[in-house]
Amino acid sequence: MTPVQFSFTTAFILGLMGLTFHRTHLLSALLCLEGMMLALFVALSLWTLQTEVTNFSAAPMLLLAFSACEASVGLALLVATNRTHGPNQLQALNILQC
């Protein structure tokens, strides 16, 4: 495993761990998702640079566009849950369990 590969893998896994185990605020979950997507962005861009596949050079931008869409949807949902559930604690999202 090259150092580059190690670094983006670690970044992704740290983001995933944060999303999985740090369940206090919705905002921190969204930030962890963004961190995961940025690790993927780094991975894709460095793959393009390393292998010099010019066909693939648009892919990191596509990924970034989609992750921006995801982030905006996440923030919209943050506002919506804030209006329906009060403060944005993830523990407050519990009315569907029974």
Binding site: L16, L40, E70, L77, A80
Partner: protein, 348 residues
């Protein structure tokens, strides 16, 4: 929701699934999955209600994480092998990560906890889309990845799903939660043969979609989301009540109905391959699911809840809802078993 927005959203749903179907490149498959998720979210959140918002948030978090994991696995694979093809044999570790993410996307058992809660929060129509159309794109990927995943993982997912689907539904009175657990159990049956006989997975998926559509449309026609509502459904439409019992038993997999077809073929295949204990556990866990379908049937046909009925003859009024799809799927749900030889000839 304005018709224009609805058209855009529904066609994006179709576009996402079609992209995933048509792509041979992991990035495009991932984009299809993302478009699918982003297009269903406004449909889920269209009623501004706490339950709908909560369901949408949970669905978004799960699907975004799973999609990111799929892309992470394929990127790692590309770093190792330089290939982005979906059909290219991938490393067992990345194939395992991909399969875990896909299982999370469709709601297979160790990662199923979101499915009942999300279905409980949305309307029956959106629930229908969630539990049928949204399964297609991940299944297209599962069928292509299944060859490279460790077989034990698929068997473990399948056994876990059928058992959890059976146990979880036992204590529920909410119909959407029962349908969610039934969906988990059916997905377990499908994933069991994804490696041994992908054609059988396809047959099981098709019959599952037909049966679930019939069940959701029936409940939608009755306006029923609780078991107690089912008990008064005979006043609205006696014929539909009788057929709804058959639809539920077909979901449970009783012999003269369509639901028996996939279970029969899958059990036969698993037994032929020599996995007798697996086949036994699967067959026994189908009994757990059958129990709660039978309980619904019982509530619908044999009990009279102590309700006050304002009138017992609403069935005389003409129904205004379109029932073409409902009647078609009900007929397919109840009468397709004789077509087993044709299905085998066409797909195997």
């Amino acid at each position: 929701m304005s018709p224009l927005v609805l058209v855009v959203l529904l066609s994006s749903l179709g576009l996402g699934t079609a992209m995933t179907f048509a792509s041979s490149h992991w990035l495009l498959a991932w984009m299809g999955l993302e478009i699918n998720t982003l297009a269903i979210l406004p449909l889920m959140a269209q009623q501004n209600h706490p339950r709908a918002m909560e369901a949408t948030t949970k669905y978004f978090l799960i699907q975004a994480t799973a999609a990111a994991m799929i892309l992470f696995a394929s990127t790692t694979n590309a770093w190792a092998s330089g290939q982005w093809d979906i059909t290219y044999p991938s490393h067992p570790v990345t194939a395992t990560i991909t399969m875990a993410a896909l299982a999370m996307k469709i709601g297979l058992a160790p990662t199923h906890f979101w499915l009942p809660e999300v279905l409980q929060g949305v309307s029956l129509t959106t629930g229908l889309i969630l539990s049928t159309w949204q399964k297609l794109a991940p299944f297209a990927l599962i069928l292509q990845v299944a060859n490279y995943t460790p077989p034990y993982m698929l068997t473990a997912l399948a056994l876990c799903s059928t058992l959890v689907g059976g146990w979880g539904g036992l204590n529920q009175t909410q119909l959407r939660k029962i349908l969610a657990y039934s969906s988990i159990a059916h997905l377990g049956w499908m994933i069991l043969v994804a490696q041994m006989a992908p054609q059988l997975t396809l047959i099981a998926l098709i019959t599952y979609i037909v049966m679930t559509t019939a069940a959701f449309l029936t409940l939608n026609n009755m306006d029923a989301t609780k078991t107690a509502t089912l008990a008064s459904s005979w006043t609205k439409s006696p014929t539909l009540t009788a057929m709804a019992c058959l639809v539920l038993l077909s979901l449970g997999g009783l012999p003269p109905l369509t639901g028996f077809l996939p279970k029969w073929l899958i059990l036969q295949e698993v037994t032929n391959q020599g996995f007798i204990p697996t086949a036994t556990v699967m067959a026994l866990s189908a009994l757990l699911s059958l129990y709660f379908y039978l309980r619904l049937t019982y509530a619908m046909s044999l009990t009279l809840f102590p309700h006050t009925f304002n009138s017992v003859t609403p069935w005389r009024m003409t129904a205004k809802r379109p029932t073409l799809l409902l009647s078609t799927t009900i007929i397919m749900t109840t009468c397709l078993l004789p077509l087993t030889p044709s299905a085998l000839t066409l797909l195997i």
